[in-house]
Each structure stands twice: as C-alpha cells, then as structure tokens.
Symmetry: C2
Subunit: 247 residues, 2 copies
C-alpha cells in the first residue's frame, strides 16, 4: 500500500482515497453505491404507482398486484441491465487493452509521442518528460498500464463486481419497493392505506436521503429533503395523471 | 486540438477518443448514453407491469392507468434523481478542487511527493521523474489539473450537462414506456392488447438492443438478443408474480 513507501504523505484520508482509487476490488463504497442506486428508485416508483392507483380508486388488491409486479420488473431491469452494462464495460476494457498492447509493440514511437502529448498538456517541456517516456518504453507492462489509465482513463474492472453489483441493486430495489406497499397488504381500503403509505414512505425517504448524504459527502439534511421531495413530486405526478386517465 | 500538434498520431479514432476525453463538453456520445439509460428501463418495466396486470385479469383501463402512472413516476425518479446525482458530483469536484488548491499552497512538498508516487508506480525512477515534478511545481494551475486527474481521477463536469442529461433520460424513459402501452389504448380487452404489446415491445427491444450494441461498440446482434431477453424475463416474472398475488 502507498502509505508504507511514503512517510511524507501524512494524510490518512488521501491515502485511503489513493488506495481505493488504485485497488478496484469490491469495496464497502461499491456496496453503498449499489444500495443508493437501488433504494433511490425502489422507494420512489412503487410508492408513486401505488398512490396513483389509489387516487384512481383501485382496490388495495389491485394496488398490491401492480406494485409487486412493478418491483419484480424493476429489480430485474435494473439488476440484469446493470450486470450487462458492467460486462460490456469489461469487454470494452479488454478490447482497448489488447489494442494498446498491439500498438506498443507495432508503433512504439507513436505511443511514446502520446505519452509526451499527455505530459506536455501540463506544461512539461520535452527535455523534462523525455526521461519519463524512456523509462516507460523500457517497461512494456507499466507503459501499458500508464496508457490505459492516463490516455484512455480506463480502470481495470473486477469481473465479480458486475454480478455482485447487479444482485445488490436488485435486492435494494426490492427492499425499497416493499416499504410503500406494506400498508396496502394490511389495509383493504386503498385510500386509507395510501395515507399510511405516504407517511412511512416519506419518513423512509428522509432517513435514506440523510444516510445517502452522509455517505456521499453531501450535506445530509439537504440530501434528505431533496430525496423526499423527488418522492413527493413523483407521487403527485402519478396521482394527478392517474386521475386524468381514470377519473 | 491534439491533432494539430502531433503529426505522429495518425489514428483518427484515437484522436477522437483523446479529444472526447479531454473536452468534457456535451457530446453526441452523452445524448446516446442518456437515451440508452432511459429507453432500457422505459421499454422494460412498463411493458412488464402491463403484462403482469393483464395476466391478473385487469381491464385495459386499469393497465393504462397503472402504466402511465408508472411512466410518469419513473421518468421523474430517473430524471430528477439523475440530475441531483450529477449536481452532487459537481459539488464533490468543486470541494476536491478547492482542497487540492489549498494543499498545493500549504503543503507543496507533500503534493510533490504524491506526483512522485504516481509516476513511481510505473517504474519511473526518482532521477527520471524529478524534472517532471519540478516542472509541475512551477505551474500551479497545471499542477492542480494534474492532481485532479491523475491522483483523484476526477474530470471537470459541465454544469449544463446535468440538467440536459436529466431531461434526455426522462424523455427517453417516457418514449420507451409508451410503446408497450399503446395497444392497451386501442384494444379494450387487456389479454388481447397484451399479445399486441408483447409483439411490438419485443420488436422494439430487439431494434433498440441492436442500436445500443452498435453505439457502444458491442456485437449488435448479441446486444439485441440480450436486451429482448431482459424484457422477456422481466415480463415473465411480473406475469407470474401477479398471477400468484391476484389469481
């Protein structure tokens, strides 16, 4: 880890950031991010759908059916969709890696010129960056890593992460979606259940929004209010539109 | 643009990639990405929800009500949610920029050591990277850009992109969602409408999946099949679950 080499960098948070940045293993940060992605939509869309149907005079039974069908579909769409997107990113990385590898072998002068170009952007003069370019030329593997990161801005993805992420997002979506639907499972009159659903879901949105702000380094109170506001706007829109379509 | 400086880089695609990477303006690539995000879920979830409700013997009227309410809620959740996420990324970048700026002023030796650390990772020796470190030290603005990019891996986000992205994703979701719902607006018996919905939505998923593969550099046919498969799995799950909940 970088900290062992450098007694100069005395900032633990920066070390952590550096290390997180270098080591793209599955981290707690990834799990948090997946949960945020899943719960954000999971708490919002099923809630709004249920509210909209209640406003259009559907029974609790229809609301639950629609809600659970939506949660299942949403979890699969987000989960499988996210998995495929991550796999396609991994394939993209592998293709770019192969291409860079070939270029380093076949047109090393071009690649060396690209390193020069990258450093020149920061005002580094040819006589200043030449030793670096030559150092890289002597170490093809390091050179390859350098091009992947600094020319193409690509990090090596962890293949297990794709599957794990997809699963986490889907589960988070389901957990989020069940919260607003619970009252409808116990209260037969949808319009009464909706009141309970609004109360517990807004509360859940505030708590989740606060936690989201805390974990992403944003003001938690502001985050809580914004998250609850999105839920409120989405459900108001669903409610209004459903009333128009099915008065 | 890089091409004017370098007669050695004779690869137009790499130039394009380099330039896209440097210039984080709003590009056609961003619009395509937003459309993919919106349509992927938009074509899948409302379709599955409608199929599920049809299987549970709801009328076309209920299916449309639920479908349109879900599309409204989904578009708002994705759109507003995406906007806030982008804004929070922009705030994060601004905070990190400010902190790096302060560190460059207050603890320049630490920052110089970090540059050394970054280059050392690629096997560059101290006598080789020292000129680069010194060059950066003389140019605080360039040094700051270097740290933001190579230490923290952050690109300067364009503030207008956040709003534009959110809007694009929301519109794409709505366009996607309306496709499977159209038959229900013309065919009163939901189970008949569902057949038409399945046909046009699977067709739309195949076409969209093909285009997605083409634009993201993945095999288009494989992408078409995967996209249609997700839609099929999501709707089968919704259909099955709805039948269990509401036989």
């Amino acid at each position: 880890m970088a900290g062992e080499n450098s007694s100069v960098t005395a900032e633990p948070e920066k070390e952590r950031l550096l290390n997180q940045h270098k080591e793209k293993h599955f981290t707690a940060g990834d799990i948090v991010r997946d949960i945020i992605i899943g719960v954000s939509d999971g708490l919002t869309v099923p809630f709004a759908l249920a509210a909209g149907l209640s406003g259009a005079n559907a029974s609790s039974s229809i609301v639950i059916t629609a809600g659970i069908a939506e949660v299942a579909a949403g979890a699969i769409s987000m989960g499988l969709g996210g998995y495929l997107a991550a796999k396609s990113e991994a394939d993209h990385y592998a293709r770019e890696l192969k291409r860079e590898q070939e270029e380093i072998i076949s047109v090393p002068d071009t690649e060396a010129a690209e390193v020069a170009e990258i450093l020149a952007e920061y005002g580094v003069e040819p006589h200043e960056y030449a030793p670096v370019v030559n150092a890289l030329r002597k170490r093809p593997q390091a050179w390859l890593d350098f091009m992947m990161k600094f020319e193409l801005g690509l990090e090596k993805p962890d293949p297990r992460r794709a599957l794990q992420s997809a699963f986490n997002i889907a589960i988070a979506y389901i957990m989020g979606g069940l919260v607003p639907l619970l009252p409808y499972m116990f209260i037969p009159r949808a319009k009464d259940a909706m009141v309970a659903s609004v109360v517990i879901t807004i509360a859940a949105l505030l708590i989740f929004g606060y936690a989201k702000g805390y974990f992403t380094g944003n003001k938690p109170v502001k985050s809580a209010l914004q998250t609850a506001l999105i839920g409120a706007i989405a459900s108001a829109a669903a409610f209004g539109i459903a009333k128009v379509v099915h008065p």
